[in-house]
């Protein structure tokens, strides 16, 4: 029997972007307000899961052709790279740098290498969550 979930699918298409942008917001704002890479990653993953629920794994994979195992690895490398990079400059492992810049369009903003590290965390969390859900979901 084929069911017609047109309402669910339509809502998911819209809600996905709301959740996704919220997760990006939480991730970006993590340094000053509650949030960060971990929660942001989980929320992004849940947005994708919503798509999976509304459509199915195959469709979602064709829409978002991401190898989540690679994403996990990229996240780990990014985190480790951010932590190790100061050693090249003769600073201790895990030294962070930050400063304030006047960026075009955005105005005065701070840029912080901790953000890169958090980006690594974000990638890992998305990657791992999706790996788990995908593998379990595909399992017979």
């Amino acid at each position: 029997m084929r069911t017609n979930d047109v309402i669910l699918q339509f809502t998911a298409k819209i809600v996905f972007f709301i959740i996704f942008f919220f997760s990006i917001h939480i991730f970006m704002a993590g340094h000053y307000t509650p949030g960060g890479g971990f929660v942001g990653g989980l929320l992004t993953a849940s947005a994708i899961v919503l798509l999976v629920l509304a459509f199915d794994l195959k469709t979602v994979r064709s829409v978002l052709p991401i190898n989540y195992t690679y994403l996990t690895a990229i996240g780990l490398l990014l985190a480790l790279g951010t932590a190790a990079f100061p050693m090249l400059l003769g600073k201790p492992f895990f030294t962070h740098f930050f400063d304030y810049y006047n960026l075009p369009l955005l105005g005065k903003q701070s840029l912080h290498t901790a953000m890169l590290f958090d980006g690594g965390v974000y990638c890992v969390v998305v990657g791992v969550t999706m790996t788990i859900i995908q593998t379990i979901g595909e399992d017979e």
Binding site: H31, T33, L43, T69, L80, F93, G120, V121
Partner: protein, 804 residues
């Protein structure tokens, strides 16, 4: 320096033996090996003249200088005597083994490597002046002896004997190590010489008795004293050259050496005198009594060795008496130590030759069972002559050296009656009586050995081979030893002056200032003394009993097997094996629940016990925050959720209860101002509940009965105890904070140093980013693990087992 290296010559030579064995096929490997002990014997012989004058030679090879451990070679009278016995008899045994072991059928490279290792070990034992290296060599003798006994490793009995001797001697060796360490702690030196010099101070130390007993245990196990002698008869499964070398002349005398070497330290103790003399005499009697029971030629010799070792041991104990007598050098007590060393030499000569003869008989007739042998006198006249010399000497008859040492033994035992300390004036009279009875049995088994083998009826039908005289090469070694037996009788004083007196001087250094001062002159004829009458009595009673032997030998069978020490040993081994197996089966049930019970109970006992013992439990309300009404509500919800999870009949309900607990915790985070935690907790709880539901959905249909967790009292008690424990610890920890929190620093520097506003996140990525790095690593590993478990399992259909 080179003197130390001599010890290692056999070990180094052992490296080349396998190559010689493999490459030179035509020549028996033994010929090459023979050069090693022979050379060493010549080298040590050059020391004789100087050592006889009382000189000592010392050489040191540092091993672990920072721990003060070195290989020290100390040659005085005692060490030199043993070194000569080891190398001299070693040469003869190697010569004998060349003819005894077939070069085609036997694994000669194994044999000679083990033998050479043993030689190094033995030389090390007798020359070491350092406690730790002495122990090192001591265990090396145990190991090489284990290998030699198990040489024919395809035989059950060989392996059993090897294992038994290993367990007993290594057990004793470990005791001895304990004694050595105590000695080191008492004297703060590893050197035996220095320990001897400080003997009077050592005696005052509370550990003195402990180290005495432990070292004696080592000596008694190695020298096969009662009740540890049981390994020696089983060690007779070794090839006969090994029995002749290890189990008569050298290794079993390592314990004797140890007792002799430590006499100057311990002889001041009453316990030492009693233990050494008493155990020695008991062993002497026991060994000689049970030797008559044996039917195996080597069995008789094994018990005889046990008995003779007991004799030497008791003499050393009696020699210790001299330390308690003023002016001992002028009294009768001086004989004991002299007799001990003298008999040690004599025993090495005659017992070595007897073992070799037993090997010859075994080799030529194919059996060692004395019931099948008989009437070989005319077939093997040379072997008979040697055997007769050996046994008559063992029995203590003139004109053989055993007579002299036996007379001195009786003198020493008789003199013990005159000793008036330690209760010897009352019990001392027992010593000569036991010695006399044991001597009678010695006489009987000696005659039993030689006459039941060589005289009587010839029974060719029972012998596997047609017997004939042994090849001359095999007879050379026993004949040389037999020649010594006779020669020593006629020149006892030359032997005494060259070998015995320097050794006695080493045992009793406080009594004499030089070996020459020892005023003992051995005489074959010493007048109509009580000793002579005792000997005549021994011969008379011995002959009578020997003639009547067939009538009373059966009495031995009346002795129940259940009461023997061997049976006792077997029972202990079996009991340990079975019993310990049972014990570990008792608690290693394989059930995870049991193991969790053990762990939780152990944690509870340890933690609550510590709280009570240390009186660490305190509880104050000081510094506690006021309770918020929301908190109360949440706690009630939390408790309800927990109870549902525990008591629910359906698993689905339990999962939902658990989810409720998780969300309540998230709410707690909210009211305790932890928004990051609350966010994460909410999302994570959702995911884990979803995963639980997934697992629930896939439970197998079979046997999936919905029922409550069964109530079990012990589990309830332990879980309540764990809860109480955690609560108590948390309360106590909260009530006594010793250092203020460091969170102030984060609060102050979060903006200025780290450029952020969210302390939690800044701590996670900046202050303590290291932790986060590895947490995401953990997460990745979990993800990859799940991927691997699900994707990489073998395809169930078709290839169900990867092995097929």
């Amino acid at each position: 320096m080179s003197q130390v290296l001599y010890i290692f010559i056999p070990m180094l030579a052992a490296i080349f033996v396998p190559f010689l064995y493999k490459s030179v096929k035509n020549i028996h490997t033994g010929w090459f090996v023979l050069a090693v002990p022979a050379t060493l014997a010549i080298i040590y012989a050059t020391y004789i003249a100087k050592v006889a004058k009382g000189e000592v030679f010392l050489a040191e090879l540092p091993w672990i200088p920072s721990l003060d451990i070195s290989v020290v070679s100390y040659l005085d009278g005692l060490s030199l005597l043993f070194s000569l016995l080891i190398t001299g008899i070693g040469s003869l045994v190697v010569l004998y083994s060349i003819f005894y072991l077939d070069k085609h059928k036997e694994k000669l490279h194994n044999f000679y490597v083990y033998l050479l290792l043993f030689m190094t070990a033995m030389l090390g034992v007798v020359q070491s002046d350092h406690l730790i290296t002495l122990y090192f060599f001591w265990e090396l003798t145990s190991i090489s002896s284990f290998l030699l006994i198990g040489y024919w490793y395809t035989r059950d009995a060989s392996r059993f004997g090897a294992l038994k001797s290993m367990i007993i001697t290594v057990g004793g060796g470990l005791m001895m190590l304990g004694g050595f360490i105590l000695l080191y702690l008492m004297g703060d030196t590893y050197s035996i010489r220095e320990l001897i010099a400080m003997a009077p101070e050592l005696m005052q130390h509370p550990w003195f008795t402990w180290s005495l007993v432990l070292i004696l245990l080592g000596a008694f196990t190695k020298s096969a004293q009662f009740p540890f002698y049981i390994w020696l008869p089983d060690a007779m499964e070794a090839p006969t050259p090994v029995s002749a070398y290890l189990h008569s002349a050298t290794m079993v005398k390592a314990g004797i050496y140890l007792v002799a070497r430590f006499t100057p330290i311990f002889a001041v103790s009453e316990l030492w005198v009693w233990l050494v003399t008493g155990v020695g005499l008991l062993t002497l009697f026991w060994g000689s009594f049970f030797a008559v029971k044996q039917t195996d030629l080597k069995g008789i010799l094994a018990f005889s060795t046990v008995s003779q070792l007991g004799l030497i041991m008791s003499l050393l104990g009696a020699g210790a008496v001299a330390f308690h007598v003023n002016g001992a050098a002028d009294t009768v007590f001086k004989y004991a130590a002299f007799a001990a060393i003298f008999h040690l030499i004599n025993h090495a000569t005659f017992k070595g030759s007897l073992f070799m003869i037993a090997g010859i008989i075994d080799h030529e007739t194919g059996t060692r069972d004395i019931r099948k042998l008989g009437g070989l006198m005319s077939i093997m006249p040379l072997s008979f002559t040697v055997a007769a010399i050996g046994t008559f000497s063992m029995a203590g008859l003139p004109p053989f050296n055993g007579f002299l040492s036996k007379e001195m033994f009786l003198t020493a035992m008789l003199s013990l009656q005159n000793f008036d300390l330690f209760g010897f004036d009352t019990w001392g009279v027992l010593f000569p009586i036991v010695a006399w009875v044991a001597s009678i049995f010695t006489f009987i088994y000696s005659f039993y050995f030689v006459f039941h083998t060589f005289s009587g009826k010839y029974k060719p039908e029972q012998l596997p081979h047609k017997p004939h005289e042994a090849p001359i090469g095999m007879l050379i070694s026993p004949m040389i030893l037999a020649a010594f037996v006779v020669t020593i009788f006629f020149i006892p004083n030359i032997i005494g002056d060259t070998f015995v007196k320097p050794a006695v001087y080493a045992i009793q250094p406080f009594l004499y200032s030089a070996p020459g001062d020892i005023d003992i002159h051995v005489q074959a004829w010493h007048g109509l003394s009580p000793e002579l009458f005792m000997t005549i009595g021994i011969v008379l009673v011995g002959v009578l009993l020997f003639v009547a032997l067939p009538k009373w030998q059966g009495l031995y069978n009346a002795f129940p097997r259940a009461l023997t020490l061997n049976n006792f040993y077997d029972k202990i081994m079996l009991g340990l094996d079975v019993g310990l197996n049972r014990v570990s089966r008792l608690y290693m049930t394989g059930s995870m629940r049991h193991y969790l019970l053990y762990m939780f109970s152990a944690i509870v006992v340890i933690v609550i016990g510590t709280l009570i013992v240390k009186d660490a439990f305190t509880f104050t309300f000081k510094g506690a925050a006021p309770i918020h009404p929301y908190g109360v509500i949440l706690i009630i919800v939390l408790i309800c959720g927990t109870c549902i999870a525990l008591l629910a009949k359906s698993r689905l309900t339990a999962i939902i209860g658990l989810g409720a607990v998780g969300y309540t915790v998230a709410l707690f985070f909210v009211i305790f101002n932890a928004p990051d935690l609350a966010l994460t907790q909410l999302v994570i709880e959702t995911i884990s509940v979803a995963l639980f539901l997934l697992a629930f959905y896939h439970l197998p249909k079979l046997g999936k009965s919905e029922e409550r967790i069964r109530f079990q009292v012990n589990r309830a008690i332990i879980s309540v105890a764990v809860g109480v424990m955690v609560t108590l610890v948390a309360l106590s920890a909260h009530s006594q904070k010793l250092v203020p929190s460091i969170s102030k620093y984060y609060e102050e520097t979060v903006y200025s140093l780290a450029g952020g506003g969210n302390i939690v996140n800044v701590i996670l990525v900046d202050y303590r980013g290291f932790d986060t790095l590895f947490e995401i690593a953990v997460l990745s590993i979990a993800g990859i693990g799940i991927l691997a478990m699900i994707k990489l399992r073998m395809n169930r259909k078709g290839k169900a087992h990867e092995n097929k």
